[in-house]
Symmetry: C2
Subunit: 533 residues, 2 copies
């Protein structure tokens, strides 16, 4: 195996740089090694993808024991030995995110074409920061961004003809994930809100403290519902507003931002001469999938002259569904929108997107350098948080082409249908209680042991129920047959004084069937039973 | 082909969700489709990787013409048609970053094992934000970070035993690239510099303006050489200091930061009650590969009580070389260090790293959420700029194991040796002028047509020489046979009053031979000749 798999493999160090170079070659010997390795890793991947259970039952502490060595190996490892270590512990104990019974997070099985495409993306090794290192991928990414921009904002043909490839325009950015997308949007919003005025060159140049002084503000804040993703708070810290610069607007028991509260907070900020950098609407909260009242928020933000950002990292792809896209009405009035490719676009991890309604907005974050991203270039790195980055846009482009609007629509419809099935089963079974009526494909419920039934428990029992559900979720996770996550809801039909620990299911995997859903609930009942014994 | 390649392919929309689901399955039919697609993409990749020339000669405008449609396709594309479009224009006109004659940017050929590994990483689809979705990859990443931390800081065994897997410790972070690594380091530095004091909860909570007031500063700045990467300026803007919050310290003609100037700037900042958030040392400037005087800078920063960050995105891997690691002496005194995997660690695009000497430093950026990243978890997303992200650490782990310290050392040595060869050739040829003595594997030179020889031109000729070299680089790029980049140097042996346009070569590709280097110079001479005609 040694001679086929690694040109020069463990003799590398003894024989010097010729062998190192051989690993990079595209000649027959290296191609044969690559093919052989590919074959072996494919076999590992195939087994991994066929797993039905959510994970193995090894403990985290035991698993960590495999990875204790903290020195870079002096000599190259034997490839055969490394492949064994890849097989076990790495692949064997990785989380089965593609399992139809792993319905606890926003990861899923992926369409088959993304795996071969990954290899192509790596082989091309393009760097999207500038067109000199991404000649064809630059217009391809601009096209994919235009398609998504059009899906969100629906501007006319002329708009895309003008802006898609214009060096002065930025329809959006492909970024590493939703967090960087939210940061990018709020960065643009901050720099636009505190732009140049007489005697002040703008916050981009002079910084936040000077910006507040020049504009006569006592502080700057972002407003979002208390259920906004924690990346909004992270952005507030990063951008210099402080974590408390995210003002959390209360929600109703349905998880949607409370509009009168938003108006009140805006009013209070104005009175305190706080500059509101942005109002953030959530389209699909991480907790329960709730969608904020976007049209009304757009109106309120517009009246107040404030940037309106919509974090649609999760629910954005509802736009593909004839049946469900109406739930995102108002998103077209946003100034910026976040979406995630590795969530409901079913792309590999590592692709987020931000879309900007005004193609000139991102000029307020523009940076240049003399070795790259020069002023009149079409380089994508000119107005972006990240620098060098991979051609993840190829996955997006391929999926938009190969799945198409109707294909994505069908995936969305199917996930929501199955979520309703789960909710129905939870309602039907006496040992479970539904905590949220699912709006999209996330549902939160809990297990209620017999002694707390019928559900006429006193509030004082809630702590015990919470502890029970936390224990249950941890034991279920440890056992590894099925998986849901857990969260804590502060505002439910029981009011705002009880924090309720819930089991959280996300129905995004197209492979999950009704019988898998039944199996998850039955597994939870069985785990609960064994905890009781 | 249709029946093998796409289960349900273009009939998807007509036949509904069953076919959509089939694309995600791991059954025999989908496996056969995946295998067939893999085979076809492999063939494309193989041809691509065998290209000797740097790129094709299609113009950017013509290329953009292929990507004009701005609507998401309604129905799924025919897979055969999509593959044709992938072959040409996408793959055919992608930049040949692996070509031995593409020696202009920090991209290179990659070792063969990263391509099959890409597919495995996508198949595993782990989300590194928390261990629930990255059970084995979490300790694997922590191990890879510890290995690199040890390479940089060389702490004793007990240190790694204590901190490697401790939920309260952060030895570093794997991020999407060097830019985010620098941002993360400076974010930590800012939050630590303006931490909680009596009556103030810290900049993380209360923001920058309040932080400056509470600490009695008039402003906050970062100090770095004028040749620091533009991501440092981007960070200064993002963090609220403003682009001008990056105070650029002059360099000598060798591109290294001027120490007396640094002392002077520090003194001026102190007098103006400006808080210096960090002093940034560059280990390998993008322009010329210069390495700042790190030991002296560490001393100065330490005396001033200021965070010392080293941006070693490019030159960090010199630490693997017995011959050259001495050039990075002083890096072990840094508080934080940036490195890039997709540069001289020869990993695919999309992996940067930041390392922190103090494992508790990152607590000042910690965020939590109730669905993930809870307080006592080992979740990697707790103290990180990004949220969901792919298991890029697997590439790092594999390469450290399979290439080892000596393998990487040989690659580094070889690149520097070849750079000296190029510099020698430039010196030897009358039509070229060496602008920088290479320290590592970057060299800047220019073409000097006969009419400006012997090199006794008047300063007034410099503009014409600049224009000539810019034209030359653009024509060379357009022709596509070979590639170097270009930059502008402000401080050379000609002093600081002349800005000089230079041709910039980066010798990172292990496949580049002396004859490739000769071919690049000869191509430039030929392009210059044809421009003259």
């Amino acid at each position: 195996m040694g001679t086929v798999l690694g040109p020069g493999d463990s003799t590398l160090a003894r024989t010097g740089s010729d062998h190192v170079r051989a690993w990079f070659a595209s000649d027959g010997v290296t191609q044969a090694s690559e093919k052989e390795l590919d074959h072996r890793l494919d076999r590992m991947a195939r087994e991994f993808l066929q797993a039905r259970e959510a994970s193995t039952d090894i403990s985290l502490a035991e698993l960590a024991g495999y990875f204790r060595e903290s020195r870079v190996p002096e000599e190259p490892a034997d490839l055969k030995a490394y492949l064994s270590a890849l097989a076990e512990p790495v692949v064997r104990h990785s989380t089965h995110t593609a399992s139809p019974r792993f319905i606890g997070h926003m990861t899923s099985a992926l369409p088959y074409f993304v795996r071969p495409l990954s290899k192509l993306v790596t082989a091309l090794n393009q760097n999207m920061v500038k067109s000199e290192t991404a000649k064809a991928l630059t217009p391809l990414e601009r096209q994919a961004l235009a398609m998504m921009h059009r899906l969100v904002f629906g501007c006319p043909d002329e708009f895309y003809e003008k802006h898609q490839d214009d060096h002065g325009s930025t329809l959006g950015a492909v970024v590493s994930g939703g967090t960087v997308a939210n940061m990018t949007a709020l960065w643009c919003a901050r720099n636009a809100a505190l732009g140049p005025v007489e005697g002040f060159a703008g916050v981009e140049q002079e910084g936040l403290a000077a910006g507040l002084r020049a504009h006569g503000h006592t502080g700057a804040v972002v407003l979002a519902s208390s259920l906004a993703h924690y990346s909004v708070q992270k952005s507030a810290d990063l951008l210099g507003l402080g974590s408390r610069g995210l003002v959390k607007v209360p929600t109703g028991p349905d998880g949607r931002l409370d509009l009168p509260e938003l108006r009140r907070v805006l009013h209070d900020c104005r009175r305190a001469r706080q500059r509101v950098i942005a109002v953030v609407g959530v389209a699909g909260t991480t907790d329960t999938g709730a969608i904020d009242p976007l049209p009304e928020m757009a109106e309120i933000a517009s009246e107040a002259g404030v940037h309106f950002h919509v974090d649609a990292a999760w629910a954005g792809p509802l736009l593909f569904s004839e049946e469900h896209r109406h739930r995102l009405a108002g998103i077209e009035r946003a100034d910026s929108v976040t979406m995630d490719g590795h969530k409901q676009l079913y792309l590999p991890m590592g692709i987020g997107m931000v879309f900007l309604r005004d193609p000139e907005l991102a000029r307020c974050i523009e940076k240049q350098a003399r070795y790259i991203v020069r002023p009149r270039s079409v380089d994508l790195g000119k107005r972006a948080l990240e620098g060098s980055r991979p051609a993840m846009a190829l996955f997006l482009h391929a999926a938009l082409s190969l799945i198409g609007r109707r294909g994505y629509g069908a995936l969305i419809d199917e996930g929501i249908r199955k979520t309703r099935y789960l909710a129905g089963e939870v309602r039907r079974r006496p040992d479970f209680e539904l905590l949220t009526d699912p709006v999209i494909n996330i549902v939160v419920y809990r297990h209620v042991p017999a002694r707390w039934r019928p559900k006429a428990w006193a509030p004082a029992d809630n702590a015990a129920l919470n502890a029970h559900n936390e224990r249950l979720q941890k034991a279920q996770r440890r056992a590894g047959r099925t998986f849901v996550s857990r969260t804590t809801l502060d505002h439910t039909r029981y009011g705002q004084t009880l924090s309720i620990v819930g089991l959280r299911a996300v129905l995004a995997n197209p492979l999950t069937t009704e019988s898998d859903i039944d199996a998850v609930l039955e597994d939870q009942a069985a785990v609960a039973q064994s905890l009781a014994n």
